[in-house]
Amino acid sequence: MKKEIDPVLQMRHITKTFGSVTANRDVDLSVYPGEIHALLGENGAGKSTLMNILTGIYRPDGGEIWYKGQKRDIHSPKDAVALGIGMVHQHFRLIPTLTVAENVYLYSGKKSFFLNRDKMEKEIRECSEQYNLQVAPEAYVWQLSVGEQQRVEIIKLLNQGAEVLILDEPSAVLTPQEAQSMFDTLRKMADSGKAVIVISHKMNEVMKNADRITVLKNGRVEDTMPASEADVERLTRGIVGVRTLPEHDKEQPSPEEPAQAGQQPSPEEPAQAGQQPSPEEPAQAGQQISPEEPAQGAQQTSTAMEEEKKHMCGEEIFFMEGVSAQNDRGLPALKKISLSVRAGEIFGIAGVAGNGQRELSEVIAGLRPVTEGRVLLAGKDLSKATVKQHILEGIAFIPEDRLQTGLVPELTFTENIILKSYETDRYSRRGILQKQNMRSDAEEYAGRFDIRHGGLDLPVGLMSGGNQQKLLFAREVSGDPRLITATYPVRGLDIGAAESIRGILREQSRKGAAVIFISEELEEIFAMCDRVGVLCDGELMGIRTIGETDFQEIGRMMSGEREETK
């Protein structure tokens, strides 16, 4: 029936390249009023670039944009706004010290000199009632939760008169309940005749909430379909191509390391220009040149995933007993977490990002104070210990933000390898750095872990993401740690690098280290781990042994469903 209506927006043959990387190739996209249109694809598939072209942040190299039957050139975000195209970015653009109403009016086209607060607030109240976007207009933004802030961003767009609303991974920061109410709101907006584009990489969410789905892969449109005709298999085929689907079967042991070196496609060109296909182009109206956030480790894990049975775990060495902690805003982020990990075991933590994973990993590394409960490693209470003591006890930590936290991008390879051990006898003699030792160790790491660095005296910020992560792992496992916490360790990495990283973790667990593996990708967790705990809203919903559970159960737990049995 939608075919009878003219599309409000058409992108035709859009092509965009950044240097040698083609982000979009001959992309066609039609969006109709009244629909929720999902853009699905892996990271780097070109979703964000396409939307940045639509909102005027990038200029396409080729192709046309037709809006309401007319061909349009969109030179800047201003142009896009004037046409009625608006976007909610993943990182909100709100001013914390202004009120909700002020934030909205910062973006409205109204040019009155004086502020009429009553009128502003009334308008916002009307808008929020119409679409069920509950938020107090007079509240300061810094007082709001993330979900409320997202609503402010949406109100901003509506107030600008947007008719095409684009949301970049809107559910990534929300709890399942919040996400559902957000989609209900989007549905209301679609029903009132607006077109909504949702960028996502979550198949279930898209099938459940969208009207039509367009799948992007490697910058091309791979498939486009009404949501009613979509199923997991078809979408997966679109997203990952003709790769075979992973088999989630822990009972199929493949003890030998797979031919990972062989299939390594090595796009990881040696350092220098390396890193992500970060577009140099400053894009005229500039700001937010976020090149496809390398977030959320894609589903690329699929093929290279090999399983390994490891029932030869040792004794339990790591315990958390009723541990609670707060997030940066002082709100409870972990609620009475209890778990134990055995030596040689890989313990997975599943859950939607932002449900306490970061806080959990930081508590384990000693970076975040424990407000309640105890953390024990090999019988030693570490709940009050300093970071340094944690390091000395043999706790390795791969932080989520590897480049800014795990490494110092401005320092060289050689300088980065001593980050945690610069005070040990090997690198320091009466406070004097032992540069020969640093150098020889750096060379050894580079060789052993196949890290392409382009020069041991170059800043590691110039290395590619995969090599940075390998360096980080090389350093963290160098002291044969007793416990390794890895937070989204393969996010944004290409298949080859991701596989080496998993290989390193497996090897460490074979050597007897307890591993806590935090990931959003269930496939990966099922392939890697012995047991899995599920985090939702700071609570541990339950712990399952991998062979005895399935996606459905874990998925239910991720969405906050309580376990009844076991």
């Binding site: 653009r93 001013i95 000199f113 502020l115």
Partner: protein, 310 residues
């Protein structure tokens, strides 16, 4: 306390406040825009000397103020060029501005140093209002530059909190990237507010040389530029609070002189230093990172805006 003493205290405090408030309000706007100008003392001196030179050589106060405004604007543009366009370190740029202004003003002012201009902004009694007991003679028998600040303070408060451009200014020092994405020209806005701040600072200097002390000597503002910076912080970036702060600082300095006659054992330097002590305490309380408190300082203060850095 006798009435005349009270009048003299209030009236001196008011004049003193005027000498620093122009600069303080200007700097509040500049810092709200995200640029910290620590060269106020230098700019003030330039304003003081240029105004005084015109007064001596041309005997024209209107022309003098015009020149002061031009000098302030020129220095403001230089400072914005350094900190906004060149993204230079604001502390270092401020020091450069401080040294430059101090040096150039001394160099240029050599000719008028100690020369009497025989021309200054004289007090004008406002009919009616000046008859009010105590407040009349102390508040409404002042020169025009003082009256002007009576108007500027409420106007600046209205501008900041009740108008759209004021709202944009408050956002500018917090999250320039967000403003940029909303289509505002962050660079132009910062240029405008830094230049405005510099003009106000130059006027502050002219208040000193043409309405307060009525002479020029090298380095004559003697730290008033720093007091203005202190006021900005002391007031938590609010012009009205800055006004009370300026009156307080002015009162302290005048009371200090009186107290000295009664208690000669208390050194005058104690009173001179009090504003700075008060500012340090205020700074710690308004911007200190205590549990659950937000710093009053603009979040993007001293951070150059670089589009390529997201």
């Amino acid at each position: 306390m006798s009435t005349t003493l009270l009048i003299s205290i209030i009236s001196t405090a008011v004049v003193y406040a005027a000498t620093v408030l122009y600069a303080a309000v200007g700097e509040i706007f500049s810092q709200r825009a995200g640029i910290m100008n620590l060269g106020l003392e230098g700019i003030m001196l330039m304003g003081a000397v240029s105004g005084y030179m015109v007064a001596v050589y041309r005997q024209n106060l209107v022309l003098a103020m015009l020149v002061v405004i031009l000098v302030g604007a020129a220095l403001g543009l230089v400072f914005s060029f350094l900190t906004v366009t060149m993204q230079a370190d604001q502390t270092v740029s401020g020091m450069a501005m401080l040294t430059f202004g101090t040096g150039l003003s001394g160099f240029l002012g050599k000719g008028v140093s100690g020369v009497n201009a025989n021309l200054a902004f004289e007090p004008i009694a406002i009919p009616g209002l000046s008859r009010i007991p105590i407040l009349g003679p102390s508040l409404f028998n002042q020169n025009i530059l003082v009256y002007l600040i009576y108007v500027i303070i409420p106007l600046s408060m209205i501008y900041l909190y009740k108008t759209r451009p004021g709202m944009i200014l408050r956002a500018l020092g917090e999250n320039p990237a967000a403003l940029d994405s909303a289509g505002y020209n962050v660079f132009a806005l910062r240029y405008a507010y830094v230049t405005f701040g510099s003009i106000m600072t130059a006027v502050s200097g002219a208040v000193v040389s043409l309405a307060y002390t009525n002479f020029w000597s090298d380095g004559m503002t003697s730290g008033k530029g720093w007091i203005a910076v202190a006021l900005v912080v002391f007031s938590a970036w609010n012009p009205l609070t800055a006004t009370f702060g300026a009156l307080l600082f002015g009162a302290i300095s005048i009371i200090g002189i009186d107290v000295q006659t009664v208690f000669p054992q208390v050194p005058s330097q104690v009173f001179s230093a009090l504003p700075y002590v008060a500012t340090i305490i205020a700074l710690i309380f308004t911007t200190g990172n205590f549990r659950g408190r937000r710093s009053a300082a603009p979040a993007a203060l001293t951070i150059p805006y670089d589009r390529e850095k997201r």
